[in-house]
């Protein structure tokens, strides 16, 4: 299958005339999504989709076109449209497609035939089991907002007129439940999930119990008075914070004057306990991939070591412009988008203590279980950071009453410097970062 996608990509690249550079990215996926509700299947979706994105660079000008079909006529039209679009781009001496750089892709086996062989009825049973497990986990859980099973089988190929020819395939699946818990007139919600490369790795029991626990522990939550305190971020919250930090370390942001850390190379930008790497070659990462979106090998990039800034992320274009080598950090949102620079699998080096041990040393704090408004209250250019938060108050080393309708605020720069401890509980999550408990001092909790 992958071979045939690469054939398509190479055929389109073969249409390049003299002085024309071409990149063809071809992707196909097959997905199943099942939502259980009230002991029944609420919806069952089965679908395949495919498409191509063609990028052309001619005389330093770039054009792009995509189409959600792979028939001959569509391929030709898409190529011609990209060529025409290239007439309108500005001349940029660094524009171009990737060429092989001699780095061998990691040997990753991310495809599981077990998923392909798993029957629809068995998938339905998993979704129904997830709903059952969520409701059964606690008598205060009155139902679910949703209980979903989803899987995808994905393959992609990329070829360039400079000799790149790469392909990859992978499988992935997950269970995710949103529970509703009630006590008196109050309702709280919580999510739980389980991810894997094939359904045998999923646990409905665990996902359901997490969803129930996250909702029930917030029952009785109230707003708290405004104060400065130490926050302890749950692994899931840390992973979302790392996503923002990753954006500030992209070569694109650095070159275009949008990175907080542009002039800080080899300076301390975080507490000495912080060591951050981006490594899509880690097979345990949910977003692991041997090749990046331009077809180059992904590699381990140490971004921050013991608090000191060591590297930025680069794709082919930004690397040329900065006079460095690509770090294999090209990402794209499917065949409909041009490649850009981004983190793929961020991971903090874990510490030695559990979340409970970290909490036991904190007299006055907030264990943050969930955050909202990361897109509306965080500015990765200015560094302003303000998000809605819910969780449990920490008093004298123990978790205490639940808190809701507060914000926590600081700046991205200060959050990194104010980290007091990294937990030992590293776990890969269904996003481009691993979670781990993180304690940060001197954050403003804004409430009543």
């Amino acid at each position: 299958m992958s071979k045939s996608l690469l054939d398509i990509a190479e055929r389109v690249v073969g249409w390049a005339g003299d002085g024309v550079d071409v990149e063809a990215f071809v992707a196909r996926d097959h997905e199943t999504e099942i939502r259980a509700y009230g002991g029944e299947v609420e919806s069952l979706t089965v679908a395949s989709s495919m498409g191509i994105g063609v990028r052309i660079v001619r005389d330093g000008r770039q054009g792009f076109a995509y189409a959600a079909a792979l028939d001959d006529e569509t391929l030709r039209e898409t190529f011609d449209e990209a060529l025409d679009n290239s007439r309108f781009g500005s001349v940029d001496e660094f524009a171009g497609v990737a060429e092989p750089d001699g780095v061998e892709p990691a040997s990753l086996d991310l495809y599981r035939s077990e998923l392909v062989d798993f029957g629809t009825e068995e998938k339905v049973a998993l979704a129904l089991e997830l709903e059952r497990a969520t409701v059964a986990a606690d008598p205060r859980v009155t139902g679910v907002e949703s209980a979903d099973y989803a899987d995808t089988t994905y393959e992609a190929a990329v070829a360039t007129s400079r000799g790149v020819a790469a392909s990859a395939r992978e499988t992935g699946c997950y269970l995710v439940a949103y529970s509703l818990a009630s006590d008196n007139d109050e309702t709280q919600t919580g999510f739980g999930f389980s991810v894997g490369r094939h359904p045998g790795e999923l646990s409905a029991e665990m996902a359901g119990a997490d969803a129930a626990d996250r909702a029930t522990r917030l029952l009785g939550a109230a707003k708290a008075p405004t104060r400065r305190l130490t926050v302890v971020l749950d692994p899931y919250v840390t992973a979302r914070l790392l996503g923002i930090v990753g954006a500030t370390l992209s070569g694109d942001a650095v070159l275009k004057g949008r990175s907080l850390f542009a002039d800080r190379m080899e300076e301390a930008v975080g507490a000495s306990s912080l060591t951050l790497v981006d490594d899509a070659t880690d097979p345990d990462a949910f977003t692991a991939s041997a090749i990046d979106a331009e077809g180059l090998a992904t590699r381990r990039v140490p971004l921050i070591s013991d608090g000191v800034l060591q590297a930025f992320l680069y794709d082919t274009y930004t690397a040329r412009r900065a006079g460095v080598s690509s770090t294999g950090s090209a990402v794209r949102g499917g065949f409909k988008g041009t490649p850009g620079v981004g983190a793929q699998a961020l991971r903090l080096t874990p510490g030695t203590r559990t979340q409970a041990e970290i909490v036991s040393d904190i007299d006055d704090g907030l264990l943050v279980q969930g955050v909202t408004g990361l897109h509306s209250g965080v500015n990765a250019v200015s560094g302003d950071f303000s998000v809605g938060a819910e969780g449990l108050r920490i008093r004298d080393g123990e978790t205490a009453e639940p808190i809701r309708e507060v914000t926590i605020a600081s700046t991205i720069q200060r959050l990194l410097m104010d980290v007091t401890e990294v937990g030992s509980d590293l776990e890969w999550l269904p996003m481009s970062a691993a979670g781990v408990t993180l304690a940060i001092a001197d954050v403003t909790m804004s409430g009543s």
Partner: protein, 463 residues
Amino acid sequence: MLEADLVNRTLAAAMRTGADFAEIFAEDRRSASAILDDGRVEEVVSGRDRGAGIRVVAGDTTGFAHTADLSAAGLAAAADAAAAAARRGGGGTQTVAVSALEPPRSLQVRIPPEEVPKDRKVALLTAADAAARSAGGAITQVSARYGDGRRRILVADSDGLFTSDDQVRTLFSVSCVATGDTGMQTGRESAGRTAGFELFDLYDVEEMARRAAQRALTKLTARPAPSGEMPVVVGPGGGGVLFHEACGHGLEADLVAKSASVFAGRIGETVAAPMVTLIDDGTMAGEWGHYGIDDEGKPAARNVLIADGVLTDYMWDRLRARKEGRASSGNGRRQSYQHLPMVRMTNTYIDNGDAEPDDIVADTSHGVYVAQLGGGQVNTATGDFVFGMTEAYLIENGRITAPIREGNLIGNGPDVLTRIDALGNDFAMGSPGTCGKDGQGVPVGDGTPTLRVTALTVGGTAA
């Protein structure tokens, strides 16, 4: 897009296992965009996306399959897959005959964007770049984006519906970075309408660029936002996001039916201050959330949700309405043919009050004035919601004073609705938005006059 005969055969195949309802949603979408960044036109993009989603409902189960193959064979395969997915629901057989094709209605588009040469679109970007940079040497970076899209849809179902729509949207945005002693700040401005290239008769991109630049420059002197509960005045247009989050999502019937909304079971009750009348209106010609028919074929409608503070109705799609034995309110929308429809907002707004905006500020001894909002998020089950402020000022002794830095505000929907104590007479629509729900994004509009909430929590760091 599809012949009636092919539609009939496909629907019959979808109904063959004894479903209660089957539907074909076909879509042909063309889009074009151009992006300028760092002084260069970085990319000019065209895209084509075409396909059909087939939905089959049997009992409480919906089966869904989509395909990019609009041939008879491709549609038959998708119909089979959807029917098989839904088969656990029922028995019996039904035949299908769609009624005569209604004349497709099309929206008024004066200048179809596909007929506008690409270099004219690119010229808008370079003009915006130059205008933003001329606002001052502290403007260190500018990006601008032009985008247009034409979406032709066809909806046919086993109840005999066969209808279509032709939706054209055009969007322009510009973002600036200003650099000063205190670091970098950003400013953004955007305009979008369900219309063609005539968007630019209404909006001057150079003026937009200067406003975005000014916004970034102003924030260079901004102080940290305050923290804690205080009165908040939201300028004209901006407050729409507040209502979208504070109660809009909570009035979507799918969430209500699952008791995942704090507004469930509250029809006929007073849920807001008596001056609040909230309307969702997909018929507002030209507005960003406007369309002829929704993605289930129902004509867009004007729906009053809250009248003088009393909750009058929820928003409905076909599935939820059918369960309640009522009509859809024309709010069934989907991101594309690859998605199932669900209840979504269109253009959500609060009508004018009678206060002078200046008087509202003058009557506020201290608090925050939010001039531009930056999106939000809500948990409909608890009612807690956040929204971001991207341009905001302190109010001191009844006057708008120092600019403050960005952050979120947080509140609880049912509380905030009752805490609105002033509505201005300066109604305006806000910026074009993309509303996300369950992984699907759709274009929405919103609007309000200047309004005041007596207490909201501002999520800053200053005392």
